[in-house]
Every structure is written in C-alpha cells, then in structure tokens.
Symmetry: C2
Subunit: 345 residues, 2 copies
C-alpha cells in the first residue's frame, strides 16, 4: 500500500491506496492558516497517519508515500519553495525529508497540479484521451497538460492556465497581476472580491454561513450552500468565475486543440457536472474550431485525485527492490500484488 | 531547385530555392481582392513563373513546389476550403492539382502558418530552440507550435493564438467573436477600426497615404509610413495591437513555457526588432515566470519564410526518385546537389 497527500490552500487530503489504486483509507484536515511550514507538514503527517489507521496499517509499513505540493518543488530533494497560499512559506522547506522522518517511509514530492493531472490521465476521466488539459478550480486555478500521453512541462513551469490573461486591465489577481483567469475564478480572489463588495453594501449571507459553519474562509462548501440559498452575491461572483473559466479554457483549446478538458479542484469537484456544463457553454462562444469542441469532463477521481496522483508519483519514483529481494519479501509477507505493483500504462 | 508560394491575405510571395534553401528567385503580387479562387490561383502561378524566370529555369523544371495556404487545407489532396480573407473562397478549391496542371510540376499544399513556423524552426530564428511558438502578425494573427522539435497540431487545428481571448466582452474580431487578440492586432481588424474612427472624426493620414500609394487597403508598409509621420491614430492603434500581442503571447507562454517566441508575419517582419522589443515589454507584466522569460526574436527568414517553408514542405512530401533513377538523373543533368537535396535535420 502507498500513501498520497494532496496539499491544497484550503485542505490537506491524505489517502492510502492499494495496488489497484483503490482508496482504502483517507483523512482530510483544513490547511493551517497560521504558523510555519513545519506546522503544515505536521498536519500532513497527522492526516496520513489517520488515513493509514483507517487502512489498518502503520505509516512506516507503507511502501512509500507521495506529496502533491504547491510552490516550486524540487523533485530530486523533496524541498518546496515559495508556496504562496500557505502560511509562512516564502522560503524553502524540506517537505520530503521532514515527512520521511516523521512517517518512517520513503516520501517523494511533486507538483500538486502535475500529479493530479497524471492521476486523471492514467486512472480517471482522461483515460481515453491522448491529449488533455486538467483545470483545477480551487483556491487558485491550476493547469496540467498531457500531450501524446505525456506531461508537457515546458522548461518546468508550464500549465499556468490560471494566469492566462482573459481581460487586459481587468481585476487584480492574488499573484499581483491584472486580468488573469484566476483573478475571477480562484476561490481566494473570489473571497477577496466578496469581502470588498460586502463592505460596499452588497447583500450576502456568505460570511454568515462561514461563521455558522465555524470556518475562517469561504470554502467550496460555503459557496455551494450560498448558491443553493440563491444568495445574489454568491451567484454573481460564481457566474463571473464561470465566464472567465469559459474564456480561459477556450483560449487554451484554441492554442492546443486537445481532445479533452478535465475540470477538477475543490470548486470543480464540489460543483460537478452542472457547472462543468456551464463552463462548456461559456467556452463555446470563444472556441475557434467550434464544430469540433473538446470533451469537457469532471475529474473522475474527485477530491482524492491529488492524493492518488501523489501515490502514483511515489510508485514511479520509489526504489524498487530487486527481483530476488522482492520475491523474498512477497514470500515473507504474502502481499505479492502490492509489493509487485507497477504503474498502469 | 524547388518553388514555394506563401499565400497571404494581402500578398502572394513566391520563391525559388536551391538545395541549400537559398532564395535564387522571387516574386511578389498583391492578393486579388475580387474574383474566384481560380483567379487567386492564377496570380499564384504567375508569381511562381516570375520567380522561376529570375532563377533562370522553367516552372516545369522545378523538382516540386509547395504552397502555404490559409483556410482548411487537406494535405493529402491539396484542396483548400473556407479560406476567409480570400475572395470567393467559402467553398473548396483544388489548389494543388490546379497549380500542378498550370505549372507542370508536383505541387503540395500545407497550412500557411505551419510551414512558416517549420521554416523558422529548422532554418531561421528558431534553430537553437527545442520548443517555440511562432506568432505571425499580419492580416490575421496566426500561431505555430513546436514542442520537442516537432510541430504540435492537436487534432489538426492547434495554433490559433490570434483567437485567444485577451479581453472578455472586448472588441469584435473579424472571426465574429469578441475579445480575440486578433481583434486588436490583426491588420484587417485594425483597418476596420481605423475606418470607423476616421468616420467618427479621428484625424489620420492613413487613408491618404493609401491612396497616394495606389493601394486599396492599409498594408504593413502604409502603417509603417504613418507611424514614421507620427500619425496619431496609427500610433494609437499600433500601441493597442502591441498591448494585445503582449497579453496573448504571455498567456501562451504561461500555458506552455516554451524556450522561444518567434515574431513573423507581414507586420512583424516590417516592424522588426524595435517592435519585437515592445511586444516583449508588453508581455512581461503578464508573464507568470517572469524571472525566466522566453527568448523573443524576429523571424529570421523575413518575408520569404512562408515561401521557403512551402518549399520545405514540398521537399518532405515529394516522391523521391529511387537511388538508381536519381544517379541516372544526376549524371544526365549534372545537378547532383539539387536532385539529392534532403530536408535539413
């Protein structure tokens, strides 16, 4: 069995998967909003311990564990730098080594959006496609690109679909720039806009719902509740987000002409099919080859996609025992399937 | 020797190249604004005949000829459908067979932007890069993508960088949509805007220059002259185009993180280095990885890039004589280099 941790701006989702990538244990914690990287890492370790407990094993018995992290990830060392949306993470933190020490197993760290995209491409909604864009609609809007069945990383920084410009001189983005898709569609930017509008007198129950649910930020669940209650500000800001997503996704498809677009992320998964249909509708007027639109689908692995992707990364990176050692281990443990598990093609 | 024809919305550029891709003959005709596809094809044939004459050979003695065409190109048959910006070309015209018949040599047809991008990637400003985007700033704004040294075509329609959305609810594009980069930066859209503004009373000499030079549209040369004369409307519309190009190119780079961006096309080549620098400056504020910007360069093959690319396409597609036949032909013609020419790696 392997562990996977998806570190998001809002939540930490840990999973334990078996050799067939079924989730056999999981745990979800809110991402700390204060403190230092070690505090966040401690919360990640706790989440994975709970997921392991649910799967009936000790973390130290996991073959390996993976982490999908925001920020600049050095895959070779497991260190993470400049993870904005995470508290006190302007510098570099040795996420991989810290967790390996805390959990007692090998830990590999990859880019959050990258591992989630590969999980969808290999095991999820993207299985039938050779080229796709993964759009992760959450605290920010992340993107992952698969071309000819393989991740396209550019010089290491490809996939910043959230920072494609959909409106020159437009809204201020959390990245400091103007008019990015994320400035309209990212959960963090939407919350800033909601607070600003409320201050200016806009009527909304968004923050009442937040307090009632004992949260300190507008999570995807709060947005969903407000929409259900037909809160006018929530409706307006989500409509605005959908329009921006439609324009940005269309721009990306006009450039790359991929077979499919997979919509995931906290908001994408929470809102699901009806909103993916709305994004599709918002995309169509901007699509150049509108007679041949790409498939647009909800991420099939849902909230677990990032964690499963992190476990997939670990499986690809871990030091495999030699055949002889493995045969011995299999004989000793009787767990041939798990020990011999390989990444699916 | 091989022929290459670049069919643009404003001009037809024909070249004849030797086995080392040097241009040894060329001719340029304005693209007819009226008539049927056969009229345009006739003008293409005339241009290539003149280029051949300059090179001192008959068109029928060319090893082959290529055409870079706008519209939907069927490479297998050489037919072209729905070439907007060309007169009466809503249906399908058998460009390849028509020209082969008129010129007496094999003719192959490819996508205009695709062949120009490959020419820059293999022989021009992109030679040193493994991944690049070609941006052809002319009547429209076309894009070509090279990833891992190979063209990325998607499902056949990739590269529509001109129709990436840079301003939601923005200016009307010649494609009918709103807010496309081309709606601000395409020569055709800029001309429509200039006429509209002049009607509303804006002061400009753009149309006087046009009449004086006996033209019926605002060619890149006319824009250049107006800028030199510090025409305020020309300056304003070109500034607007540069801003849109900066935003659109940044969006594409944020998504793909390529090594280089090559700026070509009628306006790109005419304005050259100073404007490529301005596009770079307009891109920077939108670039997510702004510490690691791509190289931005002027298309090195200039106005001949499309034609050379078309000849390159022909060379890749033509039926090569068998070794034995070739040896015989070489012995007979004494032109071993040309007959044995291969596409450069």
């Amino acid at each position: 069995m392997r562990g996977g941790i998806d570190l998001g701006g809002t939540k930490i989702q840990a999973v334990v998967v078996d050799s067939k990538w079924n989730v056999v244990g999981q745990s979800r914690h809110p991402t700390p909003t204060k403190g230092k990287p070690a505090g966040v890492a401690n919360e990640m370790a706790n989440a994975l311990r709970e997921a392991a407990a649910e799967a009936g094993i000790e973390p130290g018995d996991l073959t390996s564990a993976g982490v999908g992290s925001p920020g600049d990830v050095d895959e070779s060392t497991g260190s993470v730098s400049q993870a904005r949306n995470l508290p006190g993470w302007e510098g570099t933190f040795e996420t991989g080594p810290w967790l390996a020490d805390a959990l007692g197993t090998q830990v590999f760290v990859g880019n959050d959006v990258g591992v989630a995209t590969e999980a969808e491409a290999k095991l999820g909604a993207g299985r039938d496609y050779n080229s796709l864009i993964g759009v992760f609609w959450g605290t920010g809007v992340g993107g992952g690109i698969i071309l000819n069945g393989k991740p396209w990383l550019g010089r290491g920084a490809a996939g910043e679909i959230g920072h494609m410009v959909v409106k020159m001189d437009g809204a201020r983005c959390t990245c400091g720039r103007r008019g990015c898709m994320e400035a309209y569609a990212g959960r963090a930017a939407m919350e800033i806009e909601a607070r600003k509008r409320q201050k200016k007198g806009a009527k909304t129950d968004l923050f009442k719902i937040m307090e009632k649910r004992d949260r300190d930020r507008l999570t995807s669940g709060i947005w969903a509740r407000a929409l259900k209650a037909e809160d006018p500000l929530a409706k307006e800001l989500i409509d605005r987000a959908v329009e921006a997503l439609g324009a940005g996704v269309a721009s990306a498809v006009n450039l790359l002409d991929v077979e499919a677009v997979i919509i995931g992320g906290g908001l994408g998964v929470r809102f699901g099919e009806p909103y993916v249909k709305r994004i599709r509708k918002a995309m169509m007027p901007h699509l150049f080859s509108d007679k041949n639109p790409p498939a647009i689908e909800v991420a099939a692995l849902g909230d677990f996609g990032g964690g499963i992707g992190a476990a997939l990364l670990a499986s690809n990176r871990e030091k495999k025992p030699s055949r002889r050692t493995r045969a011995k281990a299999d004989a000793a443990s009787g767990d041939g399937a798990a020990a011999g598990a390989e990444t699916p093609a």
